[in-house]
Amino acid sequence: MMRERPDTAAAVTERLAGDDAPTVHVDRRAGADRRERLFGILQRSGALIMLVITLVTGAAAFGTSFTSPDNLIDTVAAGSAFLAIVAVGMTFVIISGGIDLSVGAVLAMSAVLTAYCAAEYGPVAGIVVPLAASALVGLAQGLLISRVALPAFIVTLAGMQLARGVAFKVTDEGNKTVLIPPDSWLRDLGSGAILGVPIPVVIALATFAVGGIVLNRSRSGQAVFAIGGSEDAAPLMGLPVRRVKTSLYVWSALLAGVAGVLIAARSSTGEPTAGYGLELQAIAAVVIGGTLLTGGYGTMSGTLAGVSLLAVIQNLINQLGTLSQYFQDVVSGAFLLAVVLLQQILARRRRLQ
């Protein structure tokens, strides 16, 4: 069947180029709706703007106790590094139109396995085994979602229970605490620093960088946007939808696994209760950062801003001391609600045009 194909495309281009046919379309919307542009900016950079505002407010209100490197880098950044890593994977999943509710549980499972394997079999096992287990969970979820076509939230809800169950099982219902041996270099991963920056923060930033490049500059990244933007059109345009979807859930779980390894490294042990509610925080960070929960649009920088914003707000609440620490969740929830409402209103306006 391999006959030579005439270079149709080139021929058409060449022929059309030679034509003197009149212009059919000019950009008519040069003077775009000002409100539309404002909303667009809000969506893209809203989180960043809020972040700057909160940083300034924090500096003004609390001075050096807020702006000191000890606070900003070792408390705020280091504390939120794990959320950040997970949020990178979540960004991809949400842009594709899906959702992953299992990441918190996978993190716990990974943390527990890290401690256990490091203690029994050494640091290398302490990294490989949890990552492999996480990837396996992600693969199972991805296949159920892309091939069996089950709804993502149910599959990952079940995955959450499964991973949490494994985490508790390994630690004997939370009764057994395994410590990573004090001389293991694994501990340094969690508590060490490069040029004064804690290693988890470095890894988080690196993850963001790579994630951003893959999302915006690779063909697979484009495919993710396409799948989220139009689930019907993507396969008709020839994209390997199932393969891409499955890989997204594998990566999401794998990144949760990485975060789990780091958390275990930092606290020298793996708690099966770790990561409770992490998936919700990750979703909140991603959405607040401007990614559409319905899929098809999102930025890695927005997620970074969202994560940072939530972390700074938490820190400010702690600095204040008088407000309940649970205000954090209320703020996250309120932000999430507001952003989702805004996104919907924007979408409505577009559709009516």
Partner: protein, 526 residues
């Protein structure tokens, strides 16, 4: 994209077999035969039109060719070898490219990204070269006469541009066969000209083009040959120059223009009793791109037929009257009293009932029983203090199942298990148990077997005789001609002809649809 000189085609067309050869393909869906032994041939450098009304089988045929469906019988041959693609992607890779009617692109992504999705230009490191992609996109689109910023999201660029991007994308995949499904539905005349130019170039490059359209002018302007499908069968096939527009329309709608119609083909009887004052009066229905100043009057006992081809605005008209289609302008009055538009509940309360065109998507609730489906709209009338009266409901269901002769195992049977005809009767029962004053029927006999068809036609007749006003939409000419007391012919959202009494005949309707051209020559291809 490399701008190399196009290689010359190998040999003359006579030496080669057809590019695409569909032989006796049959496709069935749960008892409904969508394609019945259909054959279709496309040669290199041929532009073949594929025409037929809704439900004729055009999209099914295309889906069989591109691998979305697998036929029960028959064979598809491509480049002289039998093929059976597993997915549209496989077909695309092999060289069969499709431009769909609904623009199958990603609206949130930029024009450039859409154009190159899956084939983005990469730099040495393997990452997408965004700058080159945008520049190339600009060039390609400029050649199509489209000068827009390729970085803008597609949905901000208007439907015409979107369609052009889809066309450009299909062509840039180095296809040997390009299938275009209603490609000009969102294009303006200048864009259509551009498209035709592209098609001419494709023809010279020995690419085969399948052109699905109901726009007769275009078919005569650009196509070499035409295949007509009707009810899943091929009813005509031949070169375009041998046809006239009138004859084409006649063939599409299944009528031989020269034949004299005998009455009794349908169950419709002649004129019904009519009082003077209209029971339904709709004025100036207007909706951008859909309807323009449409007026409809219906008197009690009168059947008003709406005729026209696909996309002429018939369904939109009745939906607008019913409040299921937003309008920019317009008024509706029932029995002289104005009704506020925009709410089906209000319309039902005023006595107007709609039988929607797509009973699967808009009509039946598939998992509910016949009983629940029939009573759905009547629930408020059966309710007292929040509780539904089962007894009254049972009575109503029993009456209508008998009266409409709904064949089922019982009122508890799930509606999705019924045949199309019986489903349609269930929907009619739903409307009739409200004792409406006006019935808006959109394709009431589509997709149902002959026996049920006759029953429904007889029923409509009966209802009109009892004093109901009826608006009837049907793509079957004989139904409209024989069932209506008056006929309004629509085209592109406008009423182009009003026929009454003696004027109503299939020939007249066909003539009005095709714009009044008789056997005069069609426009010569440029």
């Amino acid at each position: 994209m490399n701008i190399a000189a196009a290689p010359t085609p190998e040999g003359g067309t006579a030496a080669r077999g057809p590019l695409l050869d569909v032989q006796d393909v049959t496709k069935r869906f749960a008892g409904v035969t969508a394609l019945d032994s259909v054959s279709f041939e496309l040669g290199a450098g041929e532009v073949r039109a594929l025409v037929g009304e809704n439900g004729a089988g055009k999209s099914t045929l295309i889906k069989v060719i591109t691998g979305v469906y697998r036929p029960e019988a028959g064979e598809v041959r491509y480049l002289d070898e039998p093929v059976s693609f597993g997915s549209p992607r496989e077909a695309q890779v092999a060289g069969i490219s499709t431009i769909y009617q609904e623009i199958n692109l990603v609206p949130q992504m930029s024009a450039a990204r859409n154009l190159f999705l899956g084939r983005e230009p990469t730099n040495r490191v393997g990452l997408v070269d965004v700058r080159r992609m945008n520049a190339d996109a600009s060039d390609v689109l400029a050649n199509y006469g489209v000068h827009v910023d390729p970085r803008k999201p597609l949905r901000e660029l208007g439907v015409g541009v979107q369609q052009m991007v889809a066309i450009a994308r299909a062509v840039t995949t180095d296809a040997r066969v390009v299938i275009m499904d209603e490609p000009t539905s969102s294009l303006e005349p200048r864009e259509v000209e551009r498209l035709f130019e592209v098609i001419r170039i494709l023809r010279e490059q020995q690419v085969g083009v399948v052109y699905v359209s109901h726009k007769l002018d275009e078919i005569f302007a650009i196509c070499d040959s035409v295949t007509v499908l009707r009810d899943g069968r091929r009813v005509h096939e031949g070169p375009v120059p041998e046809l006239t527009k009138l004859r084409l329309v006649a063939v599409m709608l299944g009528r031989d223009v020269a034949d004299v119609r005998e009455s009794g083909r349908t169950r419709f009887t002649a004129s019904h009793v009519q009082a003077a004052e209209p029971v339904l009066s709709a004025r100036s229905l207007t909706r951008r791109h859909l309807l323009e100043d449409v007026d409809v009057d219906v008197r009690p006992g009168e059947v008003v037929g709406l005729a026209g081809l696909l996309g002429s605005g018939r369904s939109e008209t009745v939906k607008a009257i019913f409040g299921a289609q937003a309008v920019d302008r317009g008024e509706v009055a029932v029995g002289g009293a104005p009704v506020k538009m925009g709410s089906p509940a209000r319309a039902l309360a005023a006595g107007v009932a709609l039988l929607p065109e797509d009973r699967k998507a808009e009509g039946i609730v598939p998992d509910l029983s016949i009983r629940e489906n029939i009573l759905l709209a009547a629930l408020p009338r059966l309710t007292r203090a929040g509780l539904v009266s089962d007894r009254k409901g049972d009575e109503i269901v029993e009456i209508f199942m008998r009266r409409l002769r709904i064949k089922a195992a019982g009122p508890a049977q799930k509606v999705r298990e019924l045949s199309g005809g019986n489903q349609q009767k269930v929907l009619l029962a739903r409307l009739l148990c409200l004792e409406p004053k006006v019935l808006l029927l959109d394709e009431p006999t589509r997709g149902i077997d002959v026996g049920a068809k006759a029953e429904v036609q007889g029923l409509i007749d009966e209802l009109a005789q009892t004093g109901l006003g009826v608006v009837l939409i049907s793509s079957e000419l004989e139904e409209v001609a024989e069932g209506s007391d008056r006929v309004l012919v629509l085209q592109d959202g406008r009423i182009v002809a009003r026929l009454a009494g003696e004027e109503i005949s299939e020939e007249e309707i066909v003539s009005a649809i095709s714009g009044g051209d008789d056997d005069t020559a069609q426009r010569p291809a440029p």
